[in-house]
Symmetry: C2
Subunit: 146 residues, 2 copies
């Protein structure tokens, strides 16, 4: 079905939420989870991955939580998804290790990798700020160009 995982969805929602906060105001995992009805412990682990991936900055202790590590305009949906789900490949064969030893004449792969590149570009063009702003105007322009 080629769909994005819920974790990625949750991550995008959370990052967008952080982008709408007044600057230097941290949000805890619990706070965001409750706001959107996401399981707290699950979102906590997602935010940890985003922090580990350098997209968020974490702060321990009372009134701690997460803040964006960069301006919202410099964070793309692709970065968020990759930090949560790992490298993004549309083909089922090529992951990290060698597979596909069975089908020597598989010419399907190369054209699909170009589709993969197109997808990465499309996801990279969607910034977190574009999710918050009007969620329409900017993206419609870029959507037409792709």
């Amino acid at each position: 079905m080629l769909r994005l995982s819920k974790k990625a969805d949750y991550g995008l929602i959370a990052v967008r939420h952080l982008a709408e906060q007044p600057k230097h105001t941290a949000c805890s995992a619990k706070e965001i989870a409750r706001a959107y009805g996401i399981p707290t412990e699950l979102l906590a682990k997602i935010l940890q991955k985003l922090a580990k991936g350098g997209l968020l900055v974490s702060q321990h202790g009372t009134n701690g939580g997460y803040t964006l590590a960069k301006p919202a305009r410099e964070i793309s949906a692709f970065e968020v998804i990759r930090a949560i789900e790992g490298p993004l490949f549309i083909t089922s064969c090529v992951t990290d290790k060698r597979e596909c030893s069975q089908m020597t004449r598989c010419t399907v792969r190369e054209p699909l990798q170009k589709v993969n590149e197109t997808l990465v570009k499309a996801l990279s063009a969607v910034t977190i700020s574009s999710l918050s702003d009007s969620s329409g105007a900017l993206v419609q322009i870029e959507g037409g160009a792709l």
Copy 2:
């Protein structure tokens, strides 16, 4: 990880194989499966779906099998994938039924659906004939890496 299923891969390989056959020459599921090391029964079911989806024409009996229902240039990778995996949605929420009742303020969906449209266009632009044509030389280079 947002990857295509093996079934879709198998389907693309099989359709491309059929596209390379001399006209009006049918190939059986068993024949194709053995040529690429794909489990016979599995490929059989995939080809049945493609036939049901109107992309292939099936022929019972001895020397029967499958042939393309249309010229290879008029069959896209998107059609093959959709016939096998069903409708293609990148977002995890929107499928056929209404979900996402929890998050009312979810502005993530709309920009991602445009990414989805981009992906569909990219997959639609990849025709089966394009899998056969240019790939020969190029893929043998990459074939060593597989």
